[in-house]
Amino acid sequence: MELHVIQRMPPSKRKKVHRYLRMALQLLFFLLYPSAFTAAFGGVKYIFIQLGISEEIALTPFVAILLGLCIYTMLFGRFFCGFACAFGSLGDALHGIYRGIGKKWKRKIPRSAERIPERISWIKYLVLAAIVLMCFAGVYDRVRGTSPWDVFSMVRAGNLKLTGFLPGVTALLLLMAGMCVWERFFCRVFCPMGAVFSLLPVLPIFSLHRDRDNCVGRCAACTGRCPSSLELPEEASLETPGDCFQCQKCIDICPRGNIHCGLKRLNGNELWFTLLRALLLAAMMWRLGV
């Protein structure tokens, strides 16, 4: 398909193209680089273990991957979370299937329940703090069997020897159930790597802003579609919301085209821009040995 043909398509069709592109990229990263998030977080754990035993922090492959992803995130925001994280993609797939089934059976989660993840999104900082403290104290080995990530990685690699991992399996199943019901449930509420990313300063050039002056009354379509229910910052702001995964749903749905990057000429959902960011990320991961 020619690019200019796509740009002139009606918004509804363009939305679909964007959606399918994102799904395709998520699938690609899932197949090619599925262990990126565990490797990067392995770097976090390693740093605190070394601090705890007063040893040097060497530039291990895990630390290199962590640095790479953090630098990338400081430039492009949490694009990694939205497009390349295998666990996030799993969540999106589950949620998509659940909604698809829900549509057929005409069921939806009640409105009040929808706000729950928002209110408890601070838990991921707690998870991060608990894990790094245990690493620092040198006792993280004792809770090895509780990580749903480890279980997910093992199952994905075809390793089904899960004895001793019962807590992890239980946690994984519960999280998967949560991800069905609420979009990006794990990412918003429990992900310690996501907690690290949301603590980083993000350059405003590529992060999304909203021109509120031009909004239609009490529209809030963007916030409604947003997996994290964000209210994007104003145009001139330096801020970036910690939970924006750059999924582009807000840009696609705004009836006035009010949403764009800090760099005004970029909307943030241009096909070439998405592909460029995905390519850069993939190249970096390949180079770092993910």
Binding site: E56, P201, E239
Partner: protein, 173 residues
Amino acid sequence: MKNFVIRTINLLLILTILLGYNTVIHARAQQNDIARLQAELEESQDTVTDVKTEIKMLADSYASSSRPTEKEKAEDDGWDADESGLADGVYEGEAQGFGGMIAVNVSVKDGMVERVEIASAEGEDPAYLEMAKSVAGEIVEAQSADVDTVSGATFSSTGIRDAAAKALEKAVR
């Protein structure tokens, strides 16, 4: 605005602290190494002195009798490199890693474990395999497969270690 500035300052602070920490630890490790090497040097010098004394004793005993006694022959064997009980050669071993079997080749020379090479590890993620490889060096240093695994790359390093252990079993005389 405020948030962004705070985060940037925090990040710079954390990076500075970590770099400073690393420098201090590195300097301390170097000092420890220097102290340890000095101690080893002193020990070696003591050994040299002991050896010289023994040689003189042996030379004296040869001068006074034409053949070495049984006792002195037994002392001689203390220098034999065959003591470790490993036969020279290259041995293969296989064990389960994270996503599949890991095959290693262990080279034994002069009765000592010379090298542990990874022949194949197709089921492992590159970053994890890279981390796990350090266990190969540990096995050579310890001259045995009874070493700790690498935390963070537990499955991969366990696979390498167990494969090396199986290979070494074949090398025992």
